[in-house]
């Protein structure tokens, strides 16, 4: 569904992505894990057209992906950005409607609004409240709901668990699995490697702008070098802290 070949991105003089290759199949959850500054957000922003890559090919559903953000959304890719970036000055409802900005099918928008409220009942309760008054977890839910409102085929999630309490992190990952059931493909970027790997059909490890490892989520969880670098020394000790 999404095929990225030799993606090269520069930030001024910094070579942020050094030839990234990624393949996402329809209906999968694909996770990219990596440390701070590995280039994870840069990668998603290059996909969304926020950053223009210097080189590389991105094809989506068999066609070359446009490079302008609103055309990318129209093509069926939406991003839930890191730090949520909900419109604090707009109501919950207006935030969700902004997600559906490019859509004209009133009936379909209503239907998807219903789905979002089903997924996040709390959003239905707070529909007229300014988004800035929501808690961090609620803002994350709103950001995900907003991302779904464009009815994307592929949804890019940038660090959805960042800054949330452990119980909420668990909820968010349950929701990601629910989104998969809605027949969406998910590309997830996370620092919470254990959670990201455990729900992934396929995963990539990004280090200093390069993909250094790939495999299924369960393969990578068992990989000793991954355990050491990303999951704490042993899986057991990580789990006891969970």
């Amino acid at each position: 569904m999404l095929k990225v070949e030799n993606l090269q991105v520069y930030y001024g003089g910094i070579h942020a992505l050094r030839g990234v290759n990624i393949n996402v199949e329809q209906g999968q959850i694909v996770s990219i894990i990596g440390a701070n500054g590995a280039g994870k957000s840069t990668f998603l922003n290059a996909l969304s057209g926020i950053i223009r890559p210097k080189e590389g090919k991105i094809s989506f559903k068999g066609k070359s992906l446009p490079q302008i953000p609103y055309k990318i959304v129209a093509a069926g890719i939406s991003q839930v950005p890191e730090g949520r970036l909900v419109f604090a000055n707009l109501t919950v409802k207006d935030n969700l409607m902004m997600g559906a900005y490019l859509r004209k099918d009133k009936h379909g928008i209503e239907k998807d609004l219903g789905k979002v409220f089903e997924l996040f009942p709390r959003m239905a309760e707070r529909v007229d409240q300014p988004a800035g008054t929501l808690s961090g977890g609620e803002q994350q839910m709103l950001a995900i709901g907003r991302g779904l409102m464009s009815n994307p085929d592929l949804i890019l999630l940038d660090e959805p668990s960042l800054g949330l309490a452990p119980l909420l992190v668990k909820t968010i990952f349950e929701i990601i699995k629910d989104i998969k059931k809605l027949n969406k493909t998910i590309l997830l970027v996370e620092q919470n490697a254990y959670k990201a790997l455990s729900i992934a059909d396929k995963a990539y490890v990004l280090e200093q702008g390069r993909i250094v490892k790939t495999g299924t989520g369960s393969e990578l969880i068992k990989d000793p070098s991954i355990q050491e670098a990303y999951l704490g020394k042993t899986l057991k000790s990580y789990r006891s802290n969970d």
């Binding site: 969304s48 057209g49 926020i50 953000p69 609103y70 959304v73 129209a74 939406s78 991003q79 950005p81 970036l85 909900v86 419109f87 604090a88 000055n89 707009l90 207006d94 409607m97 902004m98 997600g99 900005y101 490019l102 800035g132 907003r146 464009s150």
Partner: protein, 292 residues
């Protein structure tokens, strides 16, 4: 008391025209975070367009009004395309935008001096100078017209911003250009709409201002007072711009009435400095945290 009420009414009238100008500064600031000093030049051009439509073409008042607004709306768009759009594409620092805005402003002023001339022009008399008596108060017909046209224009703007889909997108883009782009908003188009709206209202304000006073190339500098009003109210906030403008209008007329009209601008600019010291974000300004 009557004299005081009279000053308040005059203040409301001029304040409402400042508000029309100030929202143009505020709209652009809310999205692009820089003060578009070319807006004064746009307002000045509006005053000239209205003047020529009324004198040389002898068009009816309302048509001249509308055309002046359309003309300045287009002019504001052209300025955006030439002076700002290339800078935006290169992610230039905000200082460059301000310098570019000043350049555009000086250009507009000088092109008028060179082609039309530096002299004052007086609008033809359209409304009878006979004021309307309301109890003890007398309201100038022009003052009333200024108030009515400004209020209608501002109400229309607020309707667009608060109630329409494009308006929601403008508010969203003001909060975060990036998040808005990720929602599928063509942010380039939103920026153009904002310049167009600001120019339209600025042109209308220019005609009103020209009718109240006179028209001359440096009128754009005087409209800087509406910028003060926008800062006073809180740059980037539309209600702030309106409230700040009305307050400035009232402060000005009270100064003229009770102290001396020579102190009017002095007090206006002193007020700006005072506000910047005491409350830099203005009455209803957005804080930098909001923008993060």
């Amino acid at each position: 008391m009557t004299a005081f009420m009279q000053q308040i009414i005059n203040g409301l009238s001029i304040g409402s025209v400042y508000a029309l100008m100030a929202v143009g500064y505020s709209l652009v600031y809310s999205i692009m975070n820089f003060s578009n000093f070319a807006h004064g030049g746009v307002i000045m051009m509006g005053a000239y367009i209205g003047f020529f439509l009324l004198t040389a073409f002898k068009l009816p008042f309302l048509i001249a009004f509308g055309l002046a607004g359309v003309g300045t709306g287009v002019l504001a768009l052209v300025i955006e395309r030439i002076a700002y759009s290339p800078l935006r594409k290169r992610n230039a620092p905000f200082l460059y935008f301000i310098i570019s805005a000043m350049g555009a402003s000086i250009f507009l002023e000088n092109i008028v001096v060179a082609t039309i001339g530096p002299t004052f022009k007086t609008y033809p008399r359209i409304f009878s100078p006979e004021p309307i008596a309301v109890g003890n108060l007398s309201i100038g017909r022009l003052d009333l017209i200024m108030c009515v046209i400004s209020t209608i224009s501002l109400a229309a703007l607020i309707y667009v911003i608060e109630k329409t889909k494009v308006g929601t997108a403008i508010r969203a883009t003001a909060y975060s250009v990036r998040a808005s782009a990720l929602m599928g908003v063509n942010t380039d188009q939103i920026i153009m709409i904002v310049f167009g709206l600001g120019g339209l209202l600025g042109g209308i304000a220019g005609v009103l201002f020209g009718m109240k006073y006179t028209v001359y190339p440096q009128i754009g500098f005087i409209t800087m007072k509406s910028f003060i009003a926008a800062v006073f109210g809180g740059l980037g906030s539309l209600p702030g711009a309106v409230i700040g403008s009305i307050l400035l209008g009232i402060i000005e007329t009270l100064t003229s009435g009770y102290i001396s009209s020579q102190y009017r601008d002095l007090i206006a600019f002193a007020l700006l400095i005072f506000i910047l010291i005491v409350r830099p974000i203005g009455l209803m300004g957005k804080t930098t945290e909001d923008k993060a």
